[in-house]
């Protein structure tokens, strides 16, 4: 073996050993150090400053900030955190850097507006974000749709929602359902039909898998809420007629002449408690339901999404 070969072997061995040791040590250090809190830190909060610091490459900076936003929200949502302090500033920086980054508006509003644990519970910031988006992209009808959606679902401000849908409906190329939604808001805003129409519109107008899955989850929840409302009304009618509660769901079915034992969208029959409450069999399968949950129910895991309606 020549001297060069010996040196090569020794140097290669040293390199591999040192590299392995570094990785192992870092893993050990990560375990003994307190958890890093980098994701909670926003060193520069001013969108203008970030824009300047990007030296004109603001498009790339916006992509990086958007990725950071997704990671921030995803991480906290996964851990079912209740606070999202940096979410709104991250979204504001992203959209200031690139006012045409539509995913940041569309997803950003759905991250910001819903109450925890599904979102940050900041519908006002979501509205400001969408208004900024419309100001810079007035010819994008989907931004009007998303803004109206926030007014409808989170603030239950049907008048405002109707106004925004109406404004969006006159944008060239707007989907015909915008006019329909504007009309629905005026008369039947609180109906299940309107809610179903909204989420169906979301499902149809998006090509994004995550948005479609979210729309399906909401459509399934609307179905459950409507079923529970109808069944609970049937239980009340039964009580008024007989002076007692139905002993089972089968007794309710025959007394009310229902076509069969009512079941949720997964085919599991609804449950009737001795106290006369109609419950859904597996509430974890319907993350957005507002009715039919057992008393004191707390969601045990992240929302389950379904890919087929």
């Amino acid at each position: 073996m020549t001297s060069t070969q010996r040196t090569t072997i020794v140097a290669t061995a040293c390199l591999v050993v040192s590299m392995t040791a570094c990785v192992l040590l870092l893993r050990h250090l990560d375990q003994i150090r307190p958890q890093a809190t980098l994701e909670d830190v926003l060193y520069i909060t001013s969108p203008k400053m970030v824009e300047r610091a990007s030296l004109g490459f603001d498009g790339l900076a916006a992509c990086l900030y958007w990725t950071r936003t997704v990671q921030y929200f995803g991480h906290r949502h996964y851990n079912r955190e209740k606070t999202y302090n940096e979410l709104a500033p991250l979204l504001e920086i992203t959209t200031a850097l690139d006012p045409k980054m539509f995913p940041a508006y569309q997803f950003g509003a759905s991250f910001l507006a819903p109450a925890p644990p599904n979102g940050a519970g900041e519908p006002d910031r979501a509205i400001r974000l969408m208004q900024f988006g419309i100001e810079h992209n007035p010819d994008n009808w989907q931004l009007y749709y998303d803004l109206g959606f926030v007014y409808y679902t989170e603030l239950k401000d049907y008048k405002k929602a109707g106004e925004v849908f109406a404004r969006g409906s006159v944008v060239p190329g707007a989907h015909p359902f915008m006019k329909l939604l504007a009309a629905q808001m005026a008369e039947h805003a609180g109906d299940f039909t309107t809610a179903r129409l909204l989420w169906s519109a979301t499902f149809e107008s998006s090509n994004e898998t995550n948005i479609k899955q979210n729309a399906i989850a909401h459509l399934r929840a609307i179905q459950v809420d409507e079923d529970i409302t109808n069944l609970q009304a049937a239980v009340t009618r039964f009580g008024e007629r007989t002076g007692r509660l139905p002993a089972s769901i089968s007794e309710l079915v025959s007394a009310e002449h229902l076509p069969g034992v009512p079941a949720d969208p997964d085919g599991n029959p609804y449950v009737l408690t001795p106290e006369g409450r109609v419950l859904v069999a597996n509430p974890d399968d319907f993350p957005f339901i507002t009715k039919g949950m057992p008393p004191g129910y707390k969601p045990s895991a992240l929302p389950k999404f379904h890919t087929q309606s």
Partner: protein, 258 residues
């Protein structure tokens, strides 16, 4: 172009290739393929945006770094190695030397950009699976980046003609940063009054306007670019390059090389 300039340019190109300048293409390829593969997993709905933004930003930044760090040594290295005396002892004029060096470096950057462009389009095809008509706008952005390189090459040569490599690098990089804020500079100048306004406006027009040449965001969003913008940016870049090269020639012609 006369034969002497062509010879100096081709030698400068060969020297840059021999200095392993094109190795940066490996880093670029790794960066872009990594982004194309991983960004879909860590972000939402911006795969195409990232490939275009990251690809064009990398083309621009890699090129600027190459232009500055090679450009600043083009004259001083020849003096240091004493090869300049051999060249100038032949029937080569000083201005021919400067122009030849400029074309050699610009040629290196054009070749580098050509290979990077192939990488950008390859990554785009990977994430989008097909090309669309607006993707042709990326070629315009790449063209503007090349125009930016011409300006930076000429500035690096200008500084290299009278200053040390370190100072030349500092000057050239500072001008690149200032030039990126050229629009803001003009805005600041408009806020001042009297003599200050004259000086500030003069300074704002003297620094290169790189912000007009940066259309990466617009191209990433498939926004069309007017033909007037392309034409006027081309003329601006050529005039600015000519201005900086003229300065470099004027200084180098009078420089005492003893």
């Amino acid at each position: 172009m006369n034969a002497r300039i062509v010879h100096i340019a081709s030698n400068t190109f060969r020297e840059a290739v021999r200095d392993r300048v094109l190795y940066n293409l490996i880093a670029f390829a790794l960066l872009l393929s990594g982004a194309a593969i991983f960004v879909g997993q860590i972000s939402i709905d911006i795969e195409r945006l990232v490939v275009v933004n990251l690809g064009l930003t990398a083309v621009s930044l890699f090129g600027v770094v190459i232009a500055i760090f090679i450009g600043i040594g083009l004259v001083s290295k020849e003096i240091e190695k004493r090869t300049l005396y051999t060249v100038l002892s032949r029937p080569v004029r000083r201005w021919e030397f400067i122009i030849g060096k400029f074309f050699g470096l610009a040629g290196t950057l054009v070749v580098n950009t050509f290979f990077m462009a192939i990488g950008v389009f390859g990554a785009l095809l990977y994430v989008a699976h097909k090309f669309a008509a607006p993707d042709a706008l990326i070629l315009v952005a790449l063209y503007f980046i090349v125009l930016e390189f011409l300006i930076i090459c000429s500035l690096a040569l200008l500084f290299s003609s009278f200053s040390s490599p370190l100072l030349s690098a500092v000057f050239a990089f500072s001008l690149f940063v200032i030039g990126s804020f050229a629009d803001d500079l003009r805005g600041f100048a408009a806020l001042t009054h009297g003599f200050t306004r004259w000086v500030a406006t003069g300074a704002a027009y003297l620094v290169p306007n790189f912000s007009a040449l940066n259309v990466i965001s617009a191209v990433a969003h498939q926004q069309s670019l007017g033909s007037q913008l392309i034409l006027q940016n081309t003329i601006y870049a050529l005039f600015y390059t000519a201005m900086a090269l003229s300065g470099a020639i004027l200084i180098f012609e009078r420089r005492n090389l003893k």
